[in-house]
């Protein structure tokens, strides 16, 4: 292979005047002058400085870039809280069928019955999984689902003539929860965790008052632990008239085993890109539907997918978009949500069925507990103990604090050394209440052999660190780049390609040219 000296050239730096990939369809109408159609004062002064490249150049450029990414289809990706489970290939095929992919969102419902029926059936399925029958698919991702939940809570209280100002979140919450609280116009109040990693009920009682609109809770929590006090939490929260919100990031632990609605939650959001296999795409797309209890239903976003009564003459049911929802919080986004994601997630639910979903959660929990047991071996547990000495659910949190103390290797160093072993590191430094946290979520789709190998790699890195901590401290070594200057990047942000070539640079327009001088 030719030395990849030009790996980091951007598509703009590969540009050369006169090259192109696009050939426009012929102008088949009588041409009129540009000035007549669009007066000069409305036109831009110079063309957008886009790349000038041929098709083979584009393909080669992005294929080359792709090889500088690690991905789930290639290796183990135990990123806690992200549920990196296998993305079935079937889903890409069916989402690409023209009847789905080329559907205009404003097509009349009479001509969109397949799409609306699919959405209605997904709503029904998610409602059954959540134990809360009323579902809106509209939110675009988990964070927008959270915002939907907070806005639904606001609408519910306002409709009762109540003005509440605070929302409670545990100190273990995902960062999106507190950010959502602020975006939803509330003040965030933090609830402490107790020594077992549960919500501290005394602290909750002290903070739950008539000003509290909602408690946002993840269960299992971000520590990978089931809130054993959930029934008491439910009584406290509902006792002050607040809503109980379920962050669905960790739903993968309990599908078909226990339902948020049965625990007393009023509002649930799903992450279809976590529990329901929408590929993450390197940071989206996702979808964040919400399921709610009957008393919240009137406020769901508009429009809602509904099924008309079955005709008395046995005719087909009619699926429609219902805009006539006077108490609705309104829209959170355009059109009907991320339909392409719905196709994939509903295909997953159909493929697995009820037994398969339960098996997925059981196996996810089995895999997590097995990996936790393997990491309790001698040579690992002294340095990386479990943050809480309990059985875990679908994920668990280790603390690298002893490792940092005794070996001078931080959790970050361990994570970077894992990169050299072809493994994506677990989530690091979260949850915030665990020192040097390492949050591991293997998911159900990994084999026992993969889990064994991961445990062996961790043990090996720790052995190596005992001999020479600098190996981990300076890792990685085998990746396309090594540790990057993030502080410098934030201090002097370079967030787009400069039009001017860097001083002393070679002609970037020549492919395979030398690397520009640093």
């Amino acid at each position: 292979m030719i030395a990849e000296a030009d790996d980091t050239l951007t598509i703009f730096e590969r540009s050369k005047a006169g090259r192109r990939a696009f050939v426009a369809p012929a102008l088949d109408v009588p041409p009129r002058s540009l000035d007549e159609l669009l007066p000069a004062e409305l036109r831009r002064s110079e063309p957008a400085w886009l790349p000038e490249v041929s098709e083979p150049e584009i393909v080669r450029h992005y294929n080359r870039l792709s090889k500088r990414n690690f991905d789930l289809d290639t290796g183990f990706y135990p990123l806690g809280s992200c549920t990196m489970k296998h993305n079935p290939k079937l889903h890409e095929r069916i989402a690409g069928l023209p009847g789905h992919a080329r559907m205009h969102p404003l097509q009349d419902p009479t001509r969109a019955q397949g799409a609306l029926e699919l959405m209605w059936r997904l709503q029904e399925a998610l409602g059954e999984i959540a134990g809360l029958p009323y579902v809106s698919l509209q939110p675009s991702a988990g964070s927008q689902g959270e915002l939907a939940g907070v806005l639904l809570t606001r609408a519910y209280h306002e409709d009762r003539g109540e003005r509440r100002t605070k929302v409670l979140t545990p100190d273990t919450a995902h960062g999106t929860n507190p950010a959502t609280v602020t975006m939803g116009g509330y003040e965030m109040v933090k609830v402490q965790s107790d020594a077992n990693g549960n919500v501290d009920l005394d602290d909750l009682r002290a903070k739950a008052d008539e000003d509290v609109a909602c408690l946002m809770l993840t269960n299992p929590s971000t520590l990978g632990l089931f809130e054993t006090g959930i029934e008491a939490i439910e009584r406290i929260v509902h006792g002050v008239g607040a809503t109980l919100y379920y962050d669905g990031a960790n739903l993968n632990a309990i599908m078909g085993i226990s339902r948020p609605g049965d625990m007393g939650f009023d509002i649930v959001h799903f992450n279809l890109h976590k529990s329901f296999t929408q590929p993450h795409g390197g940071g989206g797309p996702g979808a964040g539907p919400v399921a709610v209890a009957e008393r919240i239903e009137p406020y769901l976003p508009r429009p809602q997918v509904v099924r008309g009564e079955l005709g008395s003459n046995g005719s087909e049911p009619f699926y429609d978009l219902d805009y006539d929802r006077p108490k609705s919080i309104g829209r959170l986004r355009g059109f009907q949500g991320n339909y392409g994601v719905f196709v994939r997630s509903y295909a997953y639910i159909r493929s697995l069925g009820a037994p398969g979903l339960r098996d997925a959660s059981e196996t996810a929990v089995l895999n997590a507990n097995y990996l936790l047991a393997r990491l309790r071996q001698h040579g690992v547990a002294e340095y990386l103990p479990a943050a809480y000495d309990r059985l875990c659910m679908h994920e668990f949190v280790l603390s690298g604090e002893p490792m940092r103390h005794q070996l001078h290797v931080k959790t970050l160093d361990l994570a970077k050394r894992l990169l050299d072993h072809g493994v994506h590191p677990p989530t690091v430094y979260f949850p915030l209440i665990v020192e040097e946290a390492l949050m591991v979520e293997p998911t159900e789709t990994e084999t026992k052999e993969t889990l064994d190998r991961f445990a062996e790699i961790v043990a090996k890195i720790l052995r190596e660190a005992r001999d020479d901590p600098s190996v981990a401290q300076n890792a990685p070594y085998t990746t396309p780049v090594r540790r990057l200057d993030e502080a410098g990047a934030a201090r002097h942000p370079v967030v787009r390609q400069s039009k001017a070539p860097p001083p002393g640079a070679a002609d970037h327009s020549i492919n395979n040219g030398p690397v520009p001088a640093a």
Partner: protein
């Protein structure tokens, strides 16, 4: 065992033994008995891949897609041709299946693509800073409003009636929670007529071209907003920006928009992406991921997520937004598309749409009784009033295999017979001629049916 898991019975036995429990049920002992679902979910059994494929194929077959008719629907999403190389590239596992690039050393491909995307969006909008994407168009308008709110702490948005109805409603949903008012600026002659902005306007929000297809005078809007101490937010259709004076040139502070028409399929409304670009002054208030260039310990060029102290995972309740997962794959399709079009191609494509749209507008307004809803310049979409019941006319056209466009009555009751017609490079002159013929016949027939004189 299902087909997506691998634990054999023997594996399970070994794993349970290693954990020190006898059965999987014991792993769930923390869940109170009263909260367990002691039945199966009523979702039926699992199905084979073939059965699922056939089921979803049958659902798709019950939709009338852009494949099945000559369609002129637009109104925010457009039936453009998506070049084959996009499917090929974004279908690669290395782009399709990673998470957000939290480990930059093994995510250089995605991060560099974000950097390239940001550059392309910056170029289109004429604004120096773009983030790596937000969800989609209308929520991007609300996200821009959130930036304005934090920038000047004023209590009112002024949004043009020419902004997409979904965007206006989305802004209202959010503004209510922020305790802010939303005032609507009317349209006059097809374009925004700004009222006196007063002293409490946080931002003025317009769309370019607006929902009725008209090109707005962004410069005048931005000047008025600046005089009143408000920010200007422009929701832009990205392809017309190939020709139009850029938001940056016009003095706009934040340009957002729906990115679907840049290499993303229709997908019944999503997933697509929203773009978000702003002035340097607003860079540290922007929502979402931003990729930045840096170097590694060996001095090698690299890319990272930067300015992360804006974001929810660091700043929590003080974050500039709650957004986490956005639309990275769709934005990647966007930058590939823009590279495919290229510097000259994007202008050629936009000019083709401009010419065909002008032709279509002329053809349709030659139909007796069909009049332009406004006379302003348009690029890829225009509105007419057809002087006949619009729902029935559309139904007649559809019987002829033509979907003539989007009826305005629901969102613009002042134009009960208004029709919004969108043109892309997929709609040839022959398609437009067919539309004109079918629409003319339908209009005549419906007028006769209700007794209107042409």
């Amino acid at each position: 065992m299902t087909r997506y898991t691998s634990a054999t019975d023997a594996d399970r036995e070994e794993m349970l033994a290693a954990i020190g429990v006898a059965a999987v049920e014991e792993l769930f002992e923390d869940i109170p008995e009263s909260l367990r679902l002691n039945r199966q979910l009523s979702l039926g059994d699992g199905r084979s891949e073939l059965e699922v494929f056939e089921e979803f194929r049958a659902l798709a077959a019950r939709n009338t897609s852009a494949e099945d008719e000559i369609g002129f629907l637009g109104a925010g999403m457009y039936d453009h041709y998506v070049p084959a190389l996009i499917d090929s590239i974004i279908g690669r596992s290395e782009f399709l299946t990673p998470y957000t690039p939290y480990q930059p050393e093994i995510s250089q491909g995605g991060l560099q693509a974000m950097f390239e995307y940001q550059t392309a969006i910056s170029e289109l909008t004429g604004l120096p800073v773009s983030n790596a994407s937000v969800y989609e168009g209308p929520s991007a308008v609300a996200a821009a409003g959130y930036v304005a709110k934090h920038t000047n702490n004023r209590r009112r948005f002024v949004i043009s009636r020419g902004v997409h109805p979904h965007s206006r409603e989305t802004l209202r949903t959010h503004a209510h929670a922020w305790g802010m008012e939303v005032a609507e600026a009317p349209l006059n002659g097809g374009v925004t007529e700004l009222p006196d902005l007063g002293e409490d306007a946080s931002a003025v929000i317009v769309q370019q071209p607006n929902f009725l297809g008209a090109v707005e005078d962004l410069t005048a809007v931005a000047n008025a907003a600046r005089t009143a101490g408000a920010l200007t937010i422009a929701a832009c259709d990205p392809l017309p920006l190939a020709l139009l004076k850029t938001p940056g040139e016009c003095g706009v502070d934040i340009a957002v928009g729906e990115g679907q028409s840049l290499g993303n399929r229709l997908d019944f409304g999503g997933p697509s992406f929203g773009f978000f670009a702003a002035t340097e002054a607003l860079m540290r208030r922007m929502p979402g991921r931003i990729a930045g260039e840096t170097t590694d310990v060996d001095g090698k060029r690299g890319f990272v997520l930067t300015l992360q102290t804006r974001e929810q995972h660091i700043r929590r309740e003080k974050a500039t937004s709650n957004i986490c997962t956005a639309q990275a794959l769709n934005a990647l399709a966007g930058v590939i598309y823009l590279s495919w079009l290229g510097r000259e191609g994007i202008v050629e494509l936009a000019e083709l749409m401009l010419q065909r749209t002008a032709y279509a507008r002329e053809r349709l307004t030659q139909i007796a009784g069909v009049t332009p809803l406004h006379e302003r310049p348009v690029v890829r979409e225009f509105a007419v009033e057809i002087g006949a019941p619009v729902g029935a006319v559309i139904a007649r056209c559809r019987e002829q295999g033509v979907n003539p466009g989007y009826p305005l009555w629901r969102e613009y009751p002042e134009h009960p017979d208004g029709l919004l017609v969108a043109i892309t490079e997929r709609r040839s002159r022959a398609d437009i001629d067919r539309l004109a013929d079918v629409l003319a016949a339908a209009v005549v027939a419906e007028r006769e049916a209700v007794g209107i004189q042409a």
